[in-house]
């Protein structure tokens, strides 16, 4: 489990650095993005692990995003960047890409299968994956954005 945990943190950090590069941040922000993403994603991993808390992915994503949001706000004055610079790339590794893919797949397969049984099956896949994806995203954006508004004095003075 420790290896899985470390691997999760490592790959989340790599993903955050890459997604940060796409949004062209200041160079000093890369390290902070990697650090925050590693902590956020691995904390979600721990919360979801059956032998620990065993939380549902929606709740775990919401709490992990809150952790990411608070860390981004607290670290932004050190990095002298707006809080969003560290926050957004750190959050992107948690985007439920496979759920989104399966949602889309279910929708397409619904169109291809007119028979009631098959249609119902693919419609079930579309709705179940879609709802999971939607609520993960909602939990993420709410959890990550709220710290910026709660700690306004810190997040909007980070570049001072």
């Amino acid at each position: 489990m420790i290896m899985d945990f470390l691997q999760d943190a490592f790959f989340a950090a790599i993903a955050a650095i890459g997604f940060a590069a796409i949004s062209n941040p200041p160079k000093r922000a890369y390290l902070y993005c990697a650090l925050i993403a590693a902590i956020g994603h691995s904390s979600r991993f721990l919360m979801m692990h059956d032998s620990l808390l065993g939380l549902h992915i929606v709740i775990a994503s919401g709490i992990a995003s809150l952790i990411v949001g608070v860390l981004a706000v607290l670290i932004s004055p050190l990095a002298h960047t707006p809080a969003e610079t560290c926050l957004f790339p750190s959050l992107l590794p948690m985007i439920p890409g496979i759920y989104a893919y399966k949602t889309f797949g279910g929708l397409v397969m619904c169109l291809y299968h007119g028979a009631e049984g098959e249609f119902n099956h693919y419609f079930y896949l579309f709705v179940s994956n879609g709802l999971t994806c939607l609520f993960i995203l909602l939990g993420m954006v709410i959890g990550a954005t709220i710290p910026i508004f709660i700690f306004k004095n810190i997040s909007f003075q980070a570049t001072r």
């Binding site: 989340a12 796409i22 590794p93 893919y101 954005t145």
Partner: protein, 275 residues
Amino acid sequence: MTSMKIDDAGPVAIAGCEAEGRHSLKDVCLFLSEYASWLLGSGATCIRLERNVNRMAAAWGCEAVMTILPRHIHMTVALPDRADSYTYIIATRSMAISFDINTRLSQLSWAIADGKVDFASAKERFSEAVGARGADKRLVLLLAACANAAFCRLFNGDWQAVAVVFLSTMAGYYLKQVMCEHKADMRVVFIVCAFVSSVLGATDALFHLGSTPEIAVGTSVLYLVPGIPYLNSFSDMIAGHYICSFSRFLHAVILTCCLSIGLCGGMLLMNMGMF
């Protein structure tokens, strides 16, 4: 009467005047409009834009009020006693998200608010900030490919899938860079890049390389997901900027639809089942 107020308020001169060591209300309004256009274009949230602009306007002894529309910013700068005002409407800059420009412009707003730079220096620093060169494109390409490959691993893809995703992202993102250089429509860019990446991502299944081909295909297009517009949209909604929030959300949804069209086309071409 007006000039007395101006002297009391700060360094803003009468509109249209260029008094010694001062700047006119018109100059301030044009500067703030240009600043707002660049800041919003670089991917800043509406609340940050409002705070930065108001901070600078206050430092120059005037008040700024903005209407932030999806493609334009309507800026009015007035003297504190409303004795004079100047209004300008500017188109929002259409550009790639750049947190570097966002950071530099935010730092500039504080430098002005803290009295560290005068108006002329502020204009120079603004030009430097918006003219800053972005990261090396080849490095960004490599990092984006690594990020998507790492993403694949996070979804429990095997190493063969990771390698396929790395290569398909390299090809897709390179194509995106080239098409953006040629000013291609962003929706077309998303369709084409998603198509190319998904076709290459499907090679994992085509050649039976690994045991997680569906993760390879699903992850191969994720570098195109417009995550930041979605997050900005929610942030604007919390701040009460509903028009901008809805606009950004719709923009992100359209790009996601384009991504889906490209993905669907790629999978149909490769005759790959979804489940």
